[in-house]
Symmetry: C2
Subunit: 716 residues, 2 copies
C-alpha cells in the first residue's frame, strides 16, 4: 500500500533528522525566523554602529549581547559598545534614564505598560532610542527593532513606535510528558530532557527562550495537561528551577500542569477533596516549596474531570471549589490557576454544549486569580469550528483563549497549514455578547470586561527536530501565535509576510506568492478534510488521516466520527439547531438566529449546525452532495497549486529547506487525495449519488482505505 510506505519513509526521515540536531547550519531550519538575518537590499533605515546601555540586569546584559551580535551581522562590522550616545547609536534603557526621559514624551511614557516599549529615532542626532518601563520592555523593543531593521526599516525612522501587548500573559502549553514523549507532538521528543536535568540544561532551551522573547511570549507550561503527579516531586522541582532560571532573563515565567490527585498520590492523603483542610494545606505547602526555589513561578494549569483526569467532581465538588482551593494557595505569591473548560462526557448530550453548560453557571464564583482556559471552538481544535459560546458569556470570569499551534487535526507537521487565518478568524469573531464589536479578542484581552490579568495560551508544536517544529512551514504557526498574542489586531497576512522575509528571503515575488499560499492553506485543509462544517472525521486515537467510518467496539460514542457527521440515507450533518440539540441557544444574537436557520447559516458552518438532505440546494444552486464533492476536490486542487507555486520558488530558497518542503508538499497532495477519496467514497455509500463527472475520479478504493492501519506511537 503506497500510503503506508510513505508514512514509513517520513518516520525514518524524522529520526534521521533528530540525530542531526547538533550539526545545524543556517539552512536547516534550526535558526527559525532568524535564518535570513540580513538587511533588505533597498535598506533605508538608520545605520547603526554602536550600542549604549547604561543600566544593568541579566536582561540588559542579554539585550546588549543580542544587539551587538545581531548588528555585527546585519551591518557587517564590529558594533561598538559605548557609554554615550553618538550618531549611529542605538540607546536602550528605562524611562528612569535621564537621556530617555527627555527624549520620550510624557504621554508615551505614561502609556507604556510594564512590557510595553517606545522606539524613537532622533533624526538630527541619528540616534535610535529603545525605551521602556522595565528591562523586559526593552527586550521586546529590541526584538521589534531587529525585526523592523530586516523587514520594514523605514518604520523606525518615520515615526515613533509605541507598543504594549494586548494580553498580559502569552503562554505556550507544552504537552510534554516526563518520559520525553510529547502528546500531539510531531517534531520529535521533548526539548526539556528531564533526565539530564538539573545537572545539564539542553542548550536549545536558550534558543527556545530567545525565539519566544522575540515574538513576545512570556510564559510556558512545561508539562502535559494530562499531568503526571511526579512533576511536583522535589526532585522534579529542582529540574524545573534550572529551566526557570534559564528562561528568566528572557522574560519567560514557568508554569506547571498539575494532577488534581497529587495530594493523594504524592502526599499519601486519603483523597484530594478540595474542601478538606489536609488537602488545602498539602497544596499550600507544595506551593510554598515551589516559590522558595522559583520566586517568579507563574502558576498551575489544570485539566480536571476531563477525559479521565481526576478533579473536584470526584468528591462532589464543583470546578469552582477545586480551582479556588488552588488559587488560595497560590494567591500570596501572585500565582494564577488556569483551569481548563475542556470537559465533556458521553452522557452529557451534545458535546459542543457541555463546557458552556458546566461553566456558565459558575460565573462569579471563581477567585480573581482563577482563569478559565477555553479552546477556541466548542469541540476540539478542528480545522474549522465556530467559536466556543463561552467567550463573552462569562463577564465575571477571565477566560483564556486556548489555541492549538501543533496541528493535531490539520495534517500534523506534514501539511502546510498556516494557522494565522484560523487564529485570526477566531480572535476577530464577534461574540455579540455585549453587542456589536465584542470580539473574542476584546472580551478576553480586558477591553470589555474588568479582567485583572489577561492571558492567552497556545499548545506548542516544538520538539527536538532540528527545525524545531517537524517542518519548516510549521514554524510560522509558533511565530504567528506569539505575534497575535502580542496584538490580535495584527493581520495574518502581514505576519506571514514578515515571517517569510525573516525566515527565507527578502525577495518580494517570493513573499507575495508564498504568503498567498499561506493565507489559503488552512482553507485548503478544511476543504479536503472537513468542508461545510463537517468535523471530527479523523482516525481513532492518533487523529491522523480520514476515518469517517470509524467504529470501535465499546468506544465512547463522542470519540467516533459518526457521532459528528451523522451521515445517513437522508443526508448529513449534526442538527444543533433549535429542532436538534439547540447548541445555537448558547450564542448571542444575531449569531443565534443566523446559525439556527440553514438559509442564514454561513455555509462554512452548515453541517456543524444542521442535518440536511443530500439534495439540499446550496446558495450557488448546487445540491449539497455535489457541493461536498466540489469542496473536497477544491482542497486537492489547492494543495496541488501550493506545490506548484513552491516549485517555482527554488531560486529563493536554500537547497535543503527547498527539498524538505517539497517532500512535505508531495505528501500533502497525496494525503489530500486520500482524504477526498475516503470521505467522498464513504459518504457516497449513504448519498447513493455520483461524483460530478467534471471532477477528478477517486484514485483509491473504499475498502482499501478502510483496511489502512497506522502505528502512530512514534508521533508522540
Amino acid at each position: 500500500m503506497r500510503l503506508n510506505l510513505k508514512r514509513t519513509v517520513v518516520l525514518a526521515l524524522f529520526f534521521a533528522v533528530a540525530n542531526f540536531v547538533m550539526a545545524a547550519n543556517s539552512a536547516d531550519g534550526s535558526k527559525l525566523w532568524f535564518t535570513n538575518f540580513t538587511l533588505p537590499s533597498n535598506y533605508n533605515g538608520p545605520k547603526i554602529s554602536s550600542v549604549v546601555i547604561s543600566e544593568k540586569s541579566p536582561t540588559f546584559d542579554l539585550i546588549h549581547n543580542e544587539l551587538t551580535g545581531s548588528l555585527d551581522n546585519l551591518f557587517s562590522q564590529k558594533t561598538k559598545s559605548k557609554a554615550k550616545a553618538v550618531a549611529g547609536s542605538v540607546y536602550v534603557g528605562t524611562f528612569n534614564d535621564e537621556f530617555i526621559a527627555q527624549a520620550i514624551s510624557a504621554e508615551n511614557i505614561k502609556n507604556s505598560g510594564s512590557e510595553g516599549f517606545v522606539i524613537k529615532y532622533l533624526a538630527n542626532e541619528e540616534i535610535t532610542i529603545i525605551a521602556a518601563q522595565t528591562d523586559k520592555g526593552c527586550l521586546y523593543g529590541t526584538y521589534h527593532f531587529l525585526r523592523a531593521l530586516r523587514t520594514n526599516p523605514q518604520a523606525i525612522t518615520s515615526s515613533e513606535i509605541v507598543e504594549n501587548p494586548s494580553y498580559d500573559r502569552r503562554i505556550l502549553n507544552h504537552w510534554d510528558n516526563l518520559d520525553g514523549t510529547v502528546e500531539r507532538g510531531y517534531a520529535g521528543h521533548s526539548i526539556w530532557l528531564w533526565d539530564e536535568l538539573p545537572e545539564k540544561l539542553n542548550p536549545r532551551i536558550i534558543e527556545y527562550a530567545r525565539a519566544n522573547a522575540s515574538i513576545g511570549i512570556n510564559g510556558t507550561v512545561l508539562n502535559n495537561v494530562n499531568a503526571s503527579p511526579n512533576i511536583l516531586k522535589a526532585e522534579y522541582l529542582q529540574k524545573v528551577k534550572v529551566v526557570a532560571d534559564a528562561l528568566r532573563p528572557y522574560g519567560i515565567q514557568v508554569y506547571l500542569s498539575v494532577n488534581f490527585s497529587s495530594p493523594k498520590i504524592l502526599g499519601g492523603l486519603p483523597d484530594s477533596d478540595p474542601l478538606k483542610p489536609a488537602v488545602k494545606s498539602w497544596w499550600e505547602n507544595k506551593v510554598a516549596e515551589i516559590y522558595q526555589i522559583i520566586p517568579d513561578f507563574g502558576g498551575f494549569l489544570v485539566k480536571a474531570n476531563s477525559e479521565g483526569q481526576p478533579g473536584p467532581q470526584d468528591y462532589g465538588r464543583t470546578h469552582a471549589d477545586g480551582a479556588n482551593m488552588l488559587a488560595d494557595a497560590l494567591n500570596p505569591y501572585k500565582g494564577i490557576v488556569m483551569w481548563r473548560a475542556f470537559v465533556y462526557n458521553p452522557s452529557g448530550g451534545d458535546r459542543a454544549k457541555q463546557a458552556y453548560k458546566e461553566f456558565k453557571p459558575l460565573d462569579g464564583q471563581f477567585r480573581k486569580n482563577v482563569m478559565i482556559q477555553v479552546k477556541n471552538g466548542p469541540v476540539d481544535f478542528q480545522p474549522r469550528e465556530p467559536i466556543s459560546p463561552l467567550f463573552g458569556a462569562m463577564e465575571h470570569t477571565t477566560l483564556i483563549p486556548e489555541l492549538q499551534i501543533t496541528k493535531e487535526y490539520l495534517g500534523f507537521s506534514d501539511h502546510w497549514a498556516y494557522l494565522g487565518t484560523l487564529f485570526q478568524e477566531f480572535l476577530q469573531t464577534d461574540t455579540y455578547q455585549k453587542g456589536r464589536n465584542t470580539t473574542v479578542a476584546r472580551v478576553t484581552d480586558g477591553q470589555i470586561f474588568n479582567d485583572s490579568i489577561t492571558c492567552i495560551a497556545g499548545v506548542a508544536n516544538i520538539g527536538q527536530d532540528i527545525n524545531w517544529c517537524g517542518s519548516h512551514s510549521a514554524q510560522a504557526n509558533w511565530y504567528v501565535f506569539g505575534r497575535l498574542a502580542w496584538n490580535p489586531d495584527l493581520h495574518a497576512k502581514e505576519i506571514a509576510n514578515e515571517w517569510l522575509e525573516q525566515t527565507f528571503s527578502h525577495n518580494t515575488t517570493f513573499i507575495d506568492e508564498m504568503s498567498r499560499v499561506m493565507m489559503e492553506s488552512r482553507e485548503a485543509v478544511v476543504n479536503y478534510m472537513t468542508p461545510l462544517g463537517l468535523h471530527h472525521l479523523m482516525g481513532w486515537s492518533h487523529h491522523y488521516g480520514p476515518e469517517p467510518w470509524c467504529e470501535i467496539p465499546g468506544a465512547r460514542p463522542d470519540w467516533l466520527p459518526t457521532y459528528y457527521h451523522k451521515a445517513d440515507s437522508f443526508g448529513i450533518g449534526f442538527n444543533r439547531s433549535s429542532t436538534g440539540s439547540n447548541a445555537v441557544e448558547q450564542y448571542a444574537e444575531p449569531l443565534q438566529s443566523m446559525f439556527d436557520d440553514p438559509q442564514l447559516c454561513p455555509e462554512k458552518f452548515l453541517l456543524w449546525f444542521h442535518h440536511l438532505p443530500w439534495d439540499y440546494t446550496m446558495s450557488n444552486g448546487r445540491e449539497l452532495w455535489d457541493e461536498l464533492c466540489y469542496k473536497y476536490s477544491e482542497g486537492v486542487t489547492q494543495a496541488e497549486r501550493f506545490r506548484a507555486t513552491w516549485q517555482n520558488m527554488e531560486e529563493y530558497v536554500d537547497e535543503r529547506r527547498f527539498r524538505e518542503t517539497s517532500e512535505k508538499l508531495d505528501t500533502q497532495v497525496k494525503e489530500a487525495i486520500w482524504w477526498r477519496d475516503a470521505c467522498l467514497l464513504y459518504f457516497q455509500t449513504f448519498s447513493k449519488r455520483e461524483i460530478p463527472a467534471e471532477l477528478d475520479k477517486p484514485v483509491h478504493k473504499l475498502d482499501e482505505l478502510k483496511r489502512l492501519k497506522f502505528d502512530m506511537t512514534h508521533h508522540n
Copy 2:
C-alpha cells in the same frame, strides 16, 4: 472586432428565424413544453381510452378538445368521448356532478378553492376523476394530469392529488409597446399584432393562452408599464376586447398598464390631479367603458412618478392618492390597481432605500383593491440582489412580488440562465419581519397577513420568435415562473426536471445532467457578471455587456455603474452599512445585524452592503481582489462546462434545437470571457494588483473593450 461580428451574426439569425414562424415543426421550439409529447418508456400510469365531460362551457369544450387531442397522441389511439365513465375513462367535472360528489371526500371538496382541483384514480373502476369547484379548476387539473402522465404517471394512481394555487392572481406583464416593439424583449416583436386587431387575431395568441393555462398563469398585462395613453382609446379597447375574448376560456384575465396623465392627454382635461372631481369622473367613465366590453377585465398596472412617468406627485399628491382614485373607479367591477413601487430619483439618496422610504409610511392608506407591486430586489432585477426590504414590512397593504422573466441583466436570450434558482432564492428568503418563517412567499401569498387578494407578477420574455423566447433555454423561465406562482414551495430543480422532460426527452441521463447545468446557470452568470454583491455594471441604456467604466456626460448618476461599484484605490463596493447609507436599517433582525457586519454578511452580498479594501481577507483566506478574480474566472469555467455538457447531449436532442442551443452556448462562453476581462481589467486600474497567476489571463485589452459600441435598437 470579433465580438461585434458575433452580434451581427446573432441579429441576422434572429430575423431569419422570425420569418420562419409559420413553418414551425416539432423541433423548432414553437411547441414549448409540449414538444416532447410522449409517455415515458417505463409508463406505469392508467391507460386512458375515453373522456367523459357532462358539463358545458367554453372552458369545458376546451378541456374536451385538449384531452381528446392529447390522449390520442399519448396513447396512439382515438380517444372516445363518452357519456358515462367506464374503465379507461378520464372523468372531468365540478363537484356539482353527482358521480364526482360521491367519489371525492367532503374534506377535499371543502378545501378546494375556486381554481383548485382534485385528481383521484378509482383503482377498481380504472377511472381517473379530475374535479373542481369550477371549469377553470378543471382546466388546471387537466394540465396537471397531462403533465403527470408524461413525467410522473405513478403520481396519478398512487394517491389523491389535491392542489390549490398559492397566489390568487398569477400575472404576466408584457412590456409591449403599441408600435410592436417590446421593451427589454429579446424574442422579436410583440405577439399582439395591434395593427391587425380587432379584425384579425394572431393565432399564436391561442397557443400562448394554452401555454399559460398549462402552468397556471391566469392574467396578463398586455402593454408596457411605460404606457402609451392610447391604449385607453376606444379604438384600442376594441382590440383588447378581441384578445380578452380569446384568452377567457383559458382562464386568463386581461389587464392594462395605464398612463397616469391619460385624463389630460386623452380627455383634454387641464391636468390629471387625482383629487380633482373631473379627473376622477374621467377615470370612472373610462372604467365603465372598459367593463362594458370586457366584463371580466382585471384592472390597471401603473408606473407613476418613476423614471419620468407622470403620477400624482406631479400635483403634490401621494402615491396613495393616485392609486386610491383609480381603485375607487375600479371597485364596483372588482377591478384592482397594481401600483408599482419602483420609484427612485437621483437626489433621493441611496437608490436601494427609496422605495421603502416612499411606500412604508403609506402602509394602511391604500384601498383594499390597491396592491403595491415590488420588484424582488431594491435596485433592478440584477443577477443577484438581496430582497427588497418592503416585503413583510407593510402589513396593511398587499404586495405583489414582481419578477423579471426576460433577462434584461442576465445575458438577454443569449445566455443560459435558468431563473428558477433566482425566483426561489427570493421567494424563500425569510424576511423575519414577523419573526422566523415569514418568507417572502408567505408574507405575499396571504399566509401571514390578511390579504383579500394575492398576486404575483412576472415580466414576460415572449415575442414573435418561432421559439417564443429568443432561445430554447429561456422557455424554462416562463415555465418556472408559472409553476412557482402556482406553488412557491415547489423546488426549482424539480421544475427544471419536469420542464426538460416535457421539452426534450425522457432520458434520465439527459435530465440529470441538464438540470444540474440549469441549477448552476444563474450562479455562473452572477460569477462572470457581478460576483460578491456587485451590481449594475452593464452597458448604458441597452444594458447589454459589461461597461463598469461607463460615464455619460450629464447622465443621471444613479444610471451609471460607478454609482454602484464605487471602485477606487482603496477598494470596492457600496457602503450601505450603518456607517454608510444605512440601507441595512430597513431590514428586520437578524438580517439587519448580519448585513451590517462584513464578517457576518453573506459573501454573495458583501459588496452590496460594504465598501472594502482590495486586501480585505475573505473567509477562505484570499484577499478580496484575488477572490474577485477567482469568481469571474469560475463563471467562465462554468459557462465552458455547460457548453461541454450540452455537447454530450446531442443524442437526446433534435438537430435544430441542439445546434441553436450550441450556438447560444458558444456566445455565452465568449461573452462570459468578455465580462470577466472587462470587469477585471477595469477594476485592476484601481486595485493595481495582479490577476493570480494560476487563473487564465484576459484575452481582451481594456481599451479595445471600452471602444465597443452596440446598436441595440433591434432588441426592443
